[in-house]
């Protein structure tokens, strides 16, 4: 800085610089340029910062910088009981909140050895598939908007809005649901909610066809995505990419099938895969997954059994409020669980679930006390972002936006 100021202050030197005829326009074009993209940028889906090294319009190198939304959830989890952490899981992937809730309670249940009743498991399946549809709607809409098809985001958010209304009915909150409990779910689904889900599914199928029509007849959309950001199968595995992005590269891996949790082994569904591994394949992948989710939801609505929605295990699972206020035993257990936690046995477990973004895993270490000794969140967005630097190398600046949109990171999850 001092040197530049010195040059500007020195009139002789400045005049000489201005008269320098040797500096040609070619020199400027020959040199590489470093530009900064984000953290506040509409196309980086949150506070992701990228530092690009450009040669003309071609990206030579790219360095992602994370941590602008780091809230230290892993540290906070070590200082609260297992139950208290449930609302914080909403804030991880804030487009698919229910999936996070379900994943976390399943991890704690595995550690503590609790099993939720069958009806609760089916309700969890229903809400996580609804949540997956909502998250994919956001993903597709914002992705299309990033590459110039602005109408799409209105159409997909219209569908997502319906899911949010259903969540409002089921959980009492549209966005930050915190619906699951350790050992079950907070409340039962009533008949009107079932009717709303059925109506939503009936409306979604024609809407998906319309969306495909809108986008796939758009030549700009196709040309900006086809053959851009190709991620080969081997690289996808080596880079640890998960979820739809991995399947779009041709790896048939879905946690729901590979290690079934809840009752996904009773449900008949396909795992859509694409072999191209480019941005367009990742778009088709999400669309097909929404269609599979619709199939899963119809089956769940058919198969859901009657019964309790929370396990009857007063030493580990919170009882219903009416019982707490009327029975002494339940009051004592409630007091113990709230104040001292559920005290899982000493040990460590890892459980992962298939989230809209990929594989969300919780690694919990317990030392026998009411608070987790360590809780590690394996977040899919974080893993997927690791592929950015490889995908963008050699691409154009405008492709960077398309590639990030196709990977669909959510920074709340990547930064924890």
């Amino acid at each position: 800085m001092d040197r530049i100021q010195q040059i500007y202050n020195d009139e002789k030197l400045l005049k000489k610089l201005q008269e320098d005829q040797n500096l040609t326009i070619e020199d400027v074009l020959e040199n590489e340029m470093v530009i900064n993209m984000g953290p506040q940028h509409p196309a980086t889906h949150g506070v992701l910062r990228l530092v690009l090294r450009l040669d003309g319009e071609t990206v030579v190198g790219i360095v992602p910088e994370l941590g602008y939304l780091h809230r230290g959830y892993e540290k906070m989890a070590e200082n609260m009981s297992h139950i208290e952490f449930i609302p914080h899981t909403d804030r991880l992937d804030y487009t698919g909140t229910m999936c996070n809730n379900v994943g976390y309670v399943l991890a704690v249940e595995k550690l503590a050895g609790i099993e939720a009743p069958k009806r609760a498991q089916y309700i969890r399946m229903i809400v996580s598939e609804l949540s997956r549809i909502a998250a994919h709607m956001v993903a597709i809409g914002t992705f299309a908007m990033d590459v110039g098809a602005v109408t799409m985001v209105m159409w997909t958010f219209r569908e997502r809005e319906k899911v949010n209304s259903i969540f409002d009915r089921i959980a009492g909150a549209r966005f930050t649901t915190s619906y699951t409990r350790i050992g079950g779910v907070a409340s039962d689904i009533d008949d009107q909610a079932f009717a709303e889900i059925k109506q939503f599914l009936a409306e979604l199928e024609p809407a998906l066809v319309e969306m495909d029509k809108l986008l796939l007849s758009n030549r700009i959309f196709i040309q900006r995505l086809e053959g851009i950001g190709i991620l080969p199968k081997e690289d996808a595995i080596a880079l640890g990419v998960t979820g739809p992005n991995l399947r779009a590269s041709g790896v048939e891996y879905d946690v729901r099938r590979a290690k079934p949790y809840l009752f996904y082994n009773e449900i008949d569904f396909k795992i859509p895969t694409f072999s191209q591994g480019d941005c367009l394949a990742r778009y088709f992948q999400r669309g097909d997954e929404v269609r599979e989710s619709i199939k899963i939801l119809y089956q769940c609505l058919d198969k859901i059994p009657q019964g309790e929605v929370i396990a009857n295990n007063p030493k580990k699972v919170l009882s219903h409020k009416t019982e707490i206020y009327s029975k002494m035993e339940e009051l004592i257990h409630d007091f113990m669980i709230i104040n001292f936690g559920i005290n899982p046995p000493i040990g460590d477990t890892y459980l992962s679930v298939e989230n809209p973004k990929g594989e969300l895993g919780f690694y919990i270490v317990s030392n026998g006390s009411g608070q987790p000794w360590k809780l590690k969140i394996h977040s899919p967005s974080f893993c997927n972002l690791q592929a950015v630097s490889q995908l963008c190398k050699g691409a154009m600046v405008s492709d960077v936006v398309a590639i990030i949109g196709s990977l669909d990171p959510v920074m709340g999850e990547a930064d924890k």
Partner: protein
């Protein structure tokens, strides 16, 4: 022979004395290995044609605070062939804690190890790009260590200056 027995037998055959502990809690198989063998074990598990643990899902660490071997690094790896997720552990006893990097075995471990360095201050030897992942450059502490207070350390992060 089921998958678990196959994995344990193969590892014990190859790394007899280096295996410190084999545990099986809630159906999660976990193998604790001596610190200096972690890269060899990783290479073996990845390249053995019967096992093929080609994907590294996660690298993290545990701070035990009071134990003599204060830190334990934890690796979660996955084999598509066996459809099995395995956990490896390695205890670290030196101070400051160091361990060999596995990012040359599994490329994805690059960022996971950076995160572990940021959060626990475990130095991964020969790591290609060991920068902080989340915390700003120049931050002196490692937040997930047990001796770091939850409220943070006042003055450790530069805040925007507000002119009076």
């Amino acid at each position: 022979m089921n998958t678990k027995e196959l994995i344990v037998e193969k590892i014990k055959e190859k790394f007899g004395e280096s295996v410190e502990e084999v545990s099986d809690f809630r159906d999660d198989l976990c193998i604790t290995i001596k610190k200096d063998q972690i890269v060899n074990l990783g290479k073996y598990l990845k390249e053995d044609p019967d096992l093929q643990f080609i994907m590294c899902k996660d690298v993290t660490a545990i701070d035990w605070a009071t134990r003599k071997k204060r830190f334990t690094t934890v690796y979660h790896i996955y084999s598509f062939k066996l459809n099995y997720a395995l956990r490896l552990k390695s205890n670290i006893d030196d101070n400051p804690p160091t361990i060999e990097t596995v990012s040359f075995v599994w490329q994805s471990a690059n960022w996971y190890e950076r995160e572990t360095w940021d959060m626990y201050g475990i130095k991964f030897i020969n790591h290609p790009d060991l920068r902080r992942m989340y915390m700003p450059e120049g931050f002196e502490y490692h937040p997930l260590r047990k001796d770091f207070p939850v409220l943070g350390i006042p003055g450790s992060l530069p805040l925007p200056f507000k002119a009076e």
